[in-house]
């Protein structure tokens, strides 16, 4: 049974009158929700409070980071040697591909120059790690450890080494929230690498599955097709892998039932890339620094 603390013992009656405080605070909550949802006016207020609760998020993240550091510092010698061998082999292979890639890139640039179109070449990338913080079990969102102080902006594309990961949905000073492509509220325009068919991939709330609801049953799409980003909408850079088609069911009328598996490691990635790129329609020039080349897209 809850014990009444001695501070309150002298009063047998109830605490202070509550009606006025309750109504004031209830109106304040509703006003906050409306302002936050409808008018997007609260960025600054949210920024202040986020700065106040940032220590809590950092405190949750810290033990995991420390553990990673520990395990990597005390990894045993034989494993390091093996890792090293593996990485050397992989680097050799990558270098080989890169030689061909450099020639292709040069050729591509010449062709694009001819068409006076510098569509979506990533100009700058920034590596961000995903903080070990659970935001909501039913929404696919993650907290990144880079924020507006690093130049991150709302709507920025987030990639991992394997493909498109998601986009930035909220920016704070030190952190940013990203929504994954598998979130049920997310949709991304894609194009089949084989047939050039354009459609939209919608998240399902399952990190292993995207749904393509707008594919007609006659459309040219097969299991195993790679879906690339199209760059339409200007959020994602074009030509990066998004997902691989895993199921095409044409038994339903008009629209086929199509599912795809994201190529990015949505539930396993620890580090992601934030990308600045030039949108297909030349807009303002972002403050680009040394152009680093992100991992090559899949299309051969």
């Amino acid at each position: 049974m809850v014990e009444l603390s001695h501070d309150s013992r002298p009063i047998i009656g109830r605490g202070p009158p509550l009606g006025a405080a309750f109504i004031t605070l209830a109106i304040a909550s509703i006003a906050l929700m409306v302002a936050d949802q409808r008018y997007d006016q609260l960025a600054r207020v949210r920024g202040w409070i986020t700065a106040a609760v940032y220590p809590a998020q950092a405190a949750v993240d810290l033990p995991f980071r420390a553990w990673d550091w520990l395990t990597s510092s005390f990894a045993d010698r034989s494993r390091l040697r093996q890792d090293n061998l593996e990485l050397t082999a992989r680097l050799r292979l990558a270098n080989l591909q890169l030689q061909r890639f450099a020639a292709l890139e040069e050729e591509n640039r010449r062709l694009r120059d001819m068409r006076e179109n510098s569509a979506g070449v990533a100009e700058r990338v920034l590596v961000a790690s995903i903080m070990n913080v659970d935001l909501d079990p039913f929404r696919h969102r993650v907290l990144l450890d880079k924020g507006s102080s690093d130049g991150v902006f709302k709507g920025q594309a987030v990639l991992d080494a394997e493909g498109i990961f998601g986009q930035v949905s909220k920016v704070n000073a030190q952190t940013a929230e990203a929504i994954l492509i598998s979130d049920a509220e997310h949709a991304i325009p894609v194009q089949s690498n084989r047939s050039g068919l354009r459609t939209i991939a919608v998240g399902t709330g399952d990190p292993e599955r995207l749904s393509l609801p707008f594919v007609t049953s006659e459309a040219d799409l097969k299991v195993g097709d790679l879906l690339l980003s199209t760059g339409m909408g200007g959020v994602f850079p074009p030509g990066y892998p998004v997902a691989e088609v895993t199921r095409v069911d044409r038994t339903t009328a008009t629209f086929a039932l199509v599912e795809a598996r994201p190529t990015a490691q949505l539930d396993r990635a620890r580090e992601v890339l934030l990308v600045w790129f030039k949108p297909p329609v030349p807009a303002e020039q972002p403050a680009g620094e040394s152009p680093e080349t992100p991992p090559a897209g899949a299309g051969e």
Binding site: L25, A31, I49, A184
Partner: protein, 160 residues
């Protein structure tokens, strides 16, 4: 009297802060939907224990902190916390006298109301998730209530 109260306020905020940290600690996928609302349970406990100190503002600010931590619409959890705190304040004279099981049942109802408010505001802001497992924290929270009372009582006794 005054410095003692101050120490208590610190204790109350610290326990809510601990509850908030536990609200975002990563859990395995199967356990995640079961995560109890520890911050809210701490607020309810302190309201029952010392209604003069733990008021509505305390509950409201705790809820607001949870909104920001989890990146929700500002005011959503604040409203839920506020309503639960208000009802607890109104019912405190009776609730303190309940036997523990009876008290846990009252907590179950309060948590159900809280989750309904969250569900409702989620729907209004277009994030509706209607799976059955979003209601699991009501159960886990009510089951946890006896432990919260035990922990809280031992804390209060020590600080006395």
């Amino acid at each position: 009297m005054r410095p003692d109260n101050f120490g208590r306020r610190i204790l109350y905020w610290l326990s809510v802060a601990a509850g908030l940290v536990l609200a975002i600690v990563p859990l395995p996928d199967w356990l995640d939907p079961l995560r109890p609302d520890l911050a809210l349970l701490a607020v309810v406990y302190w309201i029952l224990s010392s209604p003069r100190i733990a008021g509505l503002g305390y509950a409201w600010l705790s809820g607001l902190a949870l909104d920001v931590l989890r990146g929700m619409v500002l005011g959503q959890h604040a409203l839920g916390f506020l309503v639960v705190a208000f009802l607890t304040h109104r019912l405190q004279l009776r609730m303190r006298m309940f036997p523990l099981l009876h008290q846990a049942a009252a907590i179950l109802l309060l948590l159900a109301l809280y989750h309904f408010i969250i569900f409702w505001t989620d729907g209004l802001t277009g994030h509706g998730y209607t799976g059955w497992n979003r209601w699991l924290p009501i159960l886990s929270g009510a089951l946890l209530w006896p432990l919260i009372v035990a922990a809280g009582d031992s804390l209060t006794r020590r600080s006395r």
